[in-house]
């Protein structure tokens, strides 16, 4: 295996494109090294992107934030600005693994590993995050949702890698939340999860909503029916019931060692409901909300 630590995105893209055999990007390494240990992957080349300018920075952009691909969960959690603007995305990434994993794991890595149960992805999808992809032909932006195409598979072409993630601006009276179900209190892969992002008007009526479910399909499900159940309501019980039903109905999980179909479908609805309530509470308590 070769290890390289390029100093520019162009150099990284070229290395990945020209690599003979299997090439992998290394940011936090918390998926890559696990897969190497189990023998699932034997890369011929590992490209460490952490030495590239901008990979480890968070900058304000267009009212939102651009987060470099190598920003760790711990660093993201310490950023008051991102935390205030997109608390659901931050709490989702912060749920990945232990404190030790938090010292290394990244949004980009969580996304590109393309596990159906990835914690940060439902929250990023609900937030309408976009990624900047760098390749041999330059840079392109696309929605986060376009990246994972199936378990362990992405739409990235040879030589391409995610250089940063952009979380957009958000109007007033809006917030997000992410919840996952795990059997212990920490250290588990999500059995099912829900990321909900809401925009309310100043009277508390829901204007727009995005409800994304994780670990209940091959990739994250954006459930339009669930969102529609909230729009125009103040998230009364009937609306929340409808949201939960729509989420459960849309879920298409499998039986595996972590959960059953019945369990996942039912709890997806429970989590969507609970996450919506938290997002609503956060949105309502924002500064600038009219009394």
């Amino acid at each position: 295996m070769q290890y390289a630590a390029p100093k520019s995105t162009a150099e990284a893209a070229r290395m990945l494109a020209d690599a003979k055999g299997v090439a992998r990007v290394l940011a936090g390494g918390t998926d890559l090294l696990v897969q190497m240990k189990s023998g699932l992957i034997e890369p011929d080349l590992v490209v460490d992107i952490k030495a590239i300018d901008g990979m480890r920075t968070i900058t304000q952009e267009a009212g939102g934030y651009r987060i470099g691909a190598a920003v760790s969960g711990a660093e993201l959690g310490e950023h008051a600005g991102v935390r205030a603007l997109w608390p659901g995305v931050v709490e989702a990434l912060e749920l990945v693994g232990s404190t030790q994993i938090q010292g290394r794991c990244t949004l980009a890595g969580n996304l590109c590993n393309a596990s159906p149960a990835a914690d940060s992805v439902p929250a990023m999808v609900a937030a309408e995050a976009t990624v900047r992809v760098i390749g041999p032909d330059g840079a392109r932006d696309c929605p986060v949702q376009a990246i994972p195409t199936g378990p362990g598979k992405t739409s990235l072409a040879r030589g391409e890698f995610v250089a940063s993630i952009h979380l957009p601006a958000r109007p007033a009276h809006a917030s997000d939340a992410y919840l996952r179900f795990i059997p212990r209190t920490e250290m588990d892969i999500a059995v099912c999860s829900a990321g909900v992002s809401l925009v309310l008007d100043r009277n508390g009526t829901c204007q727009t909503a995005r409800v994304a479910l994780g670990a209940v399909a091959a990739t994250v499900l954006l459930v339009k029916d669930a969102a529609a159940a909230l729009v125009g309501t103040k998230l009364d019980n009937a609306a929340l019931d409808a949201l939960a039903s729509a989420a459960s109905a849309a879920a298409t999980p499998i039986d595996d060692k972590r959960g059953t179909v019945a369990f996942r479908k039912e709890v997806a609805g429970v989590l969507a409901r609970r996450a919506a309530v938290i997002a609503q509470q956060r949105a309502g308590s924002e500064k600038g909300a009219d009394t």
Binding site: Q2, G29, V46, D48, G97, S98, T99, I101, T185
Partner: protein, 158 residues
Amino acid sequence: MSKIHVNTSINGDTTEFLCEADEPLLNVLRDHLHLTGSKEGCGTGDCGACSVTMNGRLVCSCLVLGAEAEGAEITTIEGMADGETLHPLQRKFLEHAALQCGICTPGILVAAKALLERDPDPSETEIRYWLAGNLCRCTGYDKIISAVMDAAAEMRGG
């Protein structure tokens, strides 16, 4: 395949070593530098027995490549005591019988030290969640919590 030459700092000591590209830092510490205090319990980041800090961040050394240590500052359990003076956490672990077999102890001490350096007055719940990535199979964690809280109190000057 030729080895990678790395310059780094371990427990404040300038260190250089050669390693394979795919070798984790944990293997480098244990097999090349003879720092066997960090342990491999799983090799996949699930147990925390290999915990070290890298540039001030608590990490699993089994999930860091040796090559990534270039230019970094690594601290391990071996750097926790100051000569023959134990760190308060080490003393409190002994006083509270917070170890039985002791295999998880280096990782837990490194993790607890990282916690107290960032939050000198953590609650019991905060300690438990911070240490969730450090498995202990012997103690049920109870005396570990007592030891960490007592060490924190002493370090605050209480």
